[in-house]
């Protein structure tokens, strides 16, 4: 292994990072631009932040998006965990291959197809039984849940396959019934996978545009929809301000999560090292 990077590799690295981050940095810089023109620097100002918070359309879209993201993530975690458990732990049953395929289909299906087919389903349901009466929160929520639960199922399934199955056998051997084992042993062991499935679902739901476009109604516009429609009418520094806030929030959350995970790992390593030292001293 080379410890030092050659100048060429360093150059490639720098270019790669520049390519990834220059757009984001310029976006943040221009969010403090005085000028209304996005490409012309007119001096420092925070006025776009002020006008962003006064823009009711954007603010209500933010609220709706967060609500939908939370609701979809919750439903996706509940359904996806059960599906992942079935995929990982149940012996082959008739149709299990079909079930596994259908479970992951929403991940690979073009969103246009998913969105369109759901739209058609909801319209015919409305004509037949009158429910859902209009397209809005509920229909978007169902659409996002369908998409997100596939991801949760995959994450939970792979975690379950990693876990030593004799843990569940041991719990059964010690007198716990299957349902109890699921809640007392299995669920705590996959809790990290469930948490990451929840976060993944929220992210997916928050920036989903295509499915949402099919399933939203007149009164329900999500944040990506607002941004997209605004951008089409011409770039607006308010959007820059909104994007900068998003970058800040995401950055802080990621850093915090990393810090907590690193800390936990460090404590764990310390405890293991201490145990090794002690047992070494005893023998």
């Amino acid at each position: 292994m080379h410890n030092k990077l050659s100048p060429f590799l360093k150059g490639v690295l720098v270019v790669g990072f520049l390519f990834l981050y220059i757009p984001i940095v310029s976006l943040i810089v221009y969010s403090f631009n005085e000028s209304k023109l996005v490409t012309v620097w007119g001096g420092f100002s925070t006025k776009w932040y002020v006008s962003l918070f006064n823009n009711e359309q954007i603010m209500s879209a933010v609220k709706l998006s967060i609500q939908i993201a939370l609701a979809s993530a919750l439903a996706a975690v509940a359904l996806g965990t059960i599906a992942g458990f079935v995929l990982a732990r149940f012996k082959r049953f008739p149709g299990s291959t079909l079930f596994a395929g259908m479970m992951t289909a929403p991940m690979v299906m073009p969103e246009v197809i998913t969105g369109l087919s759901m739209l058609l389903l909801f319209i015919s349901l409305q004509q037949l039984i009158g429910v859902p009466s209009e397209r809005g929160f509920i229909t978007i929520w169902i659409g996002h849940t369908t998409l997100c639960m596939a991801y949760v199922a995959v994450v939970v399934r792979s975690r379950l396959l990693e876990i030593d199955q004799s843990l569940e056998d041991a719990a059964m051997d010690l007198g716990a019934r299957p349902l109890k084992i699921f809640f007392v042993i299995t669920l705590p062991l996959v809790s990290q996978a469930i948490a990451s499935g929840f976060l993944l679902s929220m992210t997916l739901s928050l920036d989903d545009l295509v499915t949402t476009a099919f399933l939203s109604g007149p009164g329900s516009t999500t944040l990506p929809q607002v941004i997209f429609s605004k951008v089409r009418l011409g770039l607006n520094p308010e959007i820059n301000a909104l994007a900068s806030i998003t970058v800040l929030v995401v950055g802080v959350v990621v850093l915090l999560a990393n810090y907590l995970m690193l800390n936990a790992q460090r404590n764990r390593d310390k405890a293991i090292a201490a145990a090794m030292r002690e047992s070494g001293a005893h023998s």
Binding site: D164, S166, L167, D169, A170, A171, M172, D173, L174, G175, A176, R177, K180, I185, P188, L189, R268, A271, I272, A274, A275, M276, E278, S279, S283
Partner: protein, 377 residues
């Protein structure tokens, strides 16, 4: 075959505590356990010994209730438990990986089974403390499993499986996860604990040393069948088939027809040895029958001076020497190409003032006529 096993089981003293009656387990077309009959006495430490895939683990899982026998019955203390679910059986198991719940402390792990029985909290605490003392882990009660060494984890797993005072304790490769030095030390410690508690115990292992050290009786399994039952000494000294003789310890195996069949002696003609094998006891079997003679390396004498030609003697040259400290194993190549192993104590040579033979030297192997064990299968 089944007959001899039944006889051995019947000769065991005392009423059986656990009876495994003609248990068969099939997975699709493959038969993992092929009609096993086995009686276990109370407070016995029994070892099922066999190589991987011989069906011993499947048999253990059927006792634990994780697998349902295809046919046959399992009766524990007078109760037919064949169809009982794992969580309803008065049987606990110590898993090979120990299967300690990683998100629970040592004390909570031990208390887990007791909580399932809805035992009052005071009693649970008392029992957990008792178990922690038993395995000398009291000061680790609040540790999480990952904060323990392998040996400590094994002790917690043992405490957890004993906490419910099971009628039968199952040990799946109990020390397989420990390194060799720690394993030898732990074997006797584990036996002491089991005897202190007085629990009937079935262990499964592929490690013959572990089985010989820990068990009062051993059952040798191969291809789903129980080949031989007996105490460690019986199994080593009187194997009843080639598999057992070769699986337990090391042996020299010769095959050939019975050429002399007297009531008090037999002779086997062995082309590989280049002479006959004389055995000073009779066998049940017709003259001309193909049999095998098994001679342990420690029973094979090695001489540097020429020996008179005759039965039980052969000339060869030293092909290889494995020096193992207190003794050495000489690999002697005979004229037929067959290699005979002879175990010689390190002090044998200098106590008799003989220069030890070295590679390529001509030597003579021989054994007493009462040493070979005749095997018919």
């Amino acid at each position: 075959m089944v007959e001899t096993v039944k006889q051995a089981a019947a000769s065991a003293q005392g009423a059986p505590y656990l009876r495994i009656a003609n248990v068969v387990k099939k997975f699709g077309d493959t038969t993992a356990v092929d009609g096993v009959d086995l009686d276990i006495r109370k407070n016995e430490i029994f070892a099922l010994l066999g190589s991987s895939g011989c069906g011993k683990s499947t048999l253990l899982r059927m006792l634990a209730g994780m697998e349902r026998p295809t046919s046959g019955k399992i009766i524990l203390d007078g109760e037919d438990i064949t169809a009982l679910a794992p969580y309803d059986r008065p049987i606990n198991m110590m898993f090979q990986s120990y299967a300690l719940f990683p998100h629970m402390s040592v004390a909570d792990n031990i208390a887990f089974g007791l909580k399932q029985d809805k035992m009052p909290k005071g009693e649970i605490d008392a029992r957990v403390a008792e178990m922690l003392d038993l395995v000398q882990m009291r000061k680790y009660a609040n540790r999480k499993p990952f904060q323990l060494s392998g040996g400590q984890q094994q002790r917690v797993a043992l405490a957890r499986s004993l906490a419910k005072r099971p009628k039968l304790l199952l040990l799946d490769e109990p020390l397989g996860a420990l390194d060799k030095k720690l394993r030898q030390q732990t074997q006797l410690e584990l036996v002491n604990t089991l005897e202190q508690v007085g629990v009937t115990c079935i262990m499964v292992t592929h490690d013959q040393e572990e089985a010989m050290t820990m068990a009062t009786r051993i059952g040798i399994m191969s291809e789903g069948q129980l080949l031989q039952l007996g105490s460690p000494a019986e199994i080593y000294d009187y194997p009843n088939c080639r598999f057992t003789a070769e699986f337990i310890g090391d042996t020299n195996m010769f095959s050939g027809p019975v050429v002399v069949d007297e009531p008090d002696s037999v002779e086997i003609d062995s082309p590989e040895l280049g002479s006959r094998i004389h055995i000073d006891h009779g066998i049940t079997g017709p003259k001309g029958m193909q049999v095998w003679a098994s001679i342990r390396p420690e029973d094979v004498h090695l001489d540097v001076v020429p020996q008179p030609a005759g039965p039980n003697v052969a000339r060869g040259e030293v092909h290889d020497i494995a020096y193992l400290g207190s003794f050495s194993v000489y690999h002697v190549k005979l004229a037929s190409g067959k290699v005979v192993k002879s175990m010689v104590a390190a002090n044998h040579w200098y106590e008799n003032s003989i220069t030890p033979p070295t590679w390529g030297d001509t030597v003579y192997v021989s054994w007493r006529p009462d040493m070979p064990v005749v095997l018919t299968r």
